[in-house]
């Protein structure tokens, strides 16, 4: 066979493998780590799962800021448990990502070097206690809307991780809403603090659901692989429709003068989102991008000696065990 012919059959073989692969996804079969998959599928999944993992890990920082200053023991244990859950979510997701043949070290490196992205919402500051309420209510609320469809995604390890994550998220949102409720039923100053937090977190939460459909580049491919079940705009509408009545119950005003119930469509109409702000934060110019990365990288570096010591101890113990076995 000529070289060209050889190449041709190679291409044909991978085309038919790819057809079989796509058919399996259409049939709702799960893809597992050792199965054949197109390189693009693997790369896209590494990117999305690791971005998701990074977001969980960096997401601990804005809330960690308030653990020592929680207003009561009840609030403190709840916040501590929530932040610990986010660490767990990060770990489930990193471990799912590693099944695609990338090492934890590479993933951390991508985060720490700024090569990998994480959700831009975590680059906003948490300046009052009410921010803990608004984050649980809105940010975890938007995260749930994003994540629930992923429980059915095509890549088995990701889907299984998402099922665990989604089970745990509901408490996050409820404890946040409860904080908002207490503040809204409190003094005038407390209620204003809640309103101020809503004012600051509302628009970034809407941005969390991603760029509008007309500029979102990965949507079609992601839909095919079930990495996405609904478009960004659909998810955003769902978030607004379910959140506005919750704000009404709190007696708070959503900071959007154009927000209006539309009898005809059965949805809320809403105002223009400032996408320029979104892209600025994504590009690293948000209020806390630098601070978040400094904290994250600093914690990792300060932990180096601990990780090394643990490894050295483990190796010593292993040698000791081997020598004892020899002596017997």
């Amino acid at each position: 066979m000529s070289e060209a012919q050889l190449k041709n059959t190679g291409a044909e073989r991978s085309r038919s493998l790819e057809e079989i692969f796509e058919q399996r996804i259409v049939n709702d079969e799960k893809i597992e780590p050792k199965d054949w998959m197109p390189e693009k599928y693997r790369k896209t999944h590494i990117r999305q799962i690791s971005q998701h993992a990074h977001s969980e890990i960096v997401g601990m920082l804005p809330e960690g800021n308030w653990i020592t200053r929680a207003p009561s023991l009840r609030r403190k244990v709840a916040l501590l448990a929530k932040v610990q859950d986010e660490a767990g979510h990060g770990l489930y997701l990193y471990s799912a990502c590693e099944t695609l043949g990338v090492s934890r070290d590479e993933l951390y490196d991508q985060l720490h070097s700024g090569k990998a992205k994480y959700s831009s919402i975590f680059n906003y500051p948490t300046i009052t206690w009410a921010d803990m309420g608004a984050i649980g209510w809105l940010v975890d609320g938007a995260a749930i809307i994003n994540q629930v469809p992923l429980c059915n995604t095509s890549y088995g390890p990701y889907a299984r991780a998402m099922i665990r994550v989604c089970k745990e998220e509901s408490f996050h949102q409820r404890q946040g809403f409860e904080i908002m409720m207490s503040l809204c039923n409190g003094t005038e100053v407390q209620k204003q603090m809640a309103q101020d937090a809503l004012n600051r977190w509302w628009w970034p939460s809407l941005m969390m659901l991603g760029p509008t459909d007309d500029v979102s580049v990965h949507t079609a491919q992601s839909m095919k692989w079930k990495l996405k079940r609904k478009t960004n705009d659909e998810l955003r509408q769902q978030f607004i429709d379910q959140t506005v009545p919750q704000a009404d119950i709190l007696g708070l005003t959503v900071p959007d003068p154009d927000l209006k119930w539309n009898e005809e469509t059965g949805h809320y109409d809403f105002g223009e989102i400032d996408w320029e702000e979104f892209w600025q934060v994504v590009k690293g110019h948000g209020p806390c991008n630098k601070e978040r990365m400094n904290d994250r990288v600093g914690a990792w570096e300060r932990g180096t000696w601990v990780r090394d010591a643990a490894m050295a101890h483990a190796e010593k113990q292993q040698i000791k065990k081997e020598n004892q076995a020899k002596a017997v």
Binding site: K34, D85, L91, Y92, R307, D308, A310, M311, A314
Partner: protein
């Protein structure tokens, strides 16, 4: 950092009477730490009563590319299933 913590596979028995099931993986310096981390990562809400940890490198997995030779021979052995045998309808308890 000199050396990375190895990867461990975590298996959890959610309650007595059930088998251990694969829950995921994590990194730890040794088996003892893997157990402690598994407790914190995978059983924060009483999801388990027993944990096994196995260093991932010690697991040998079958290759899906060989699934044909591996699993297809069972497909034409339908006589291993009760429905292969025809019995009259009047027969009860069988």
């Amino acid at each position: 950092m000199e050396k990375n913590w190895p990867l461990w596979e975590i298996f959890v028995r959610s309650k007595n009477g059930l088998e251990h099931r694969h829950f995921g993986s994590l990194h730890a310096a040794d088996a003892e730490m893997a157990l402690e981390n598994a407790r914190d990562v995978y059983t924060r809400r009483s999801e388990g009563v027993s944990i096994w940890v196995v260093e991932s490198k010690n697991i040998t997995a079958s290759n899906p590319e060989n699934n044909g030779e591996m699993f297809e021979p069972a497909q034409d052995k339908i006589y291993r299933h009760p429905t292969f045998y025809t019995l009259p309808d009047e027969i009860k308890h069988m």
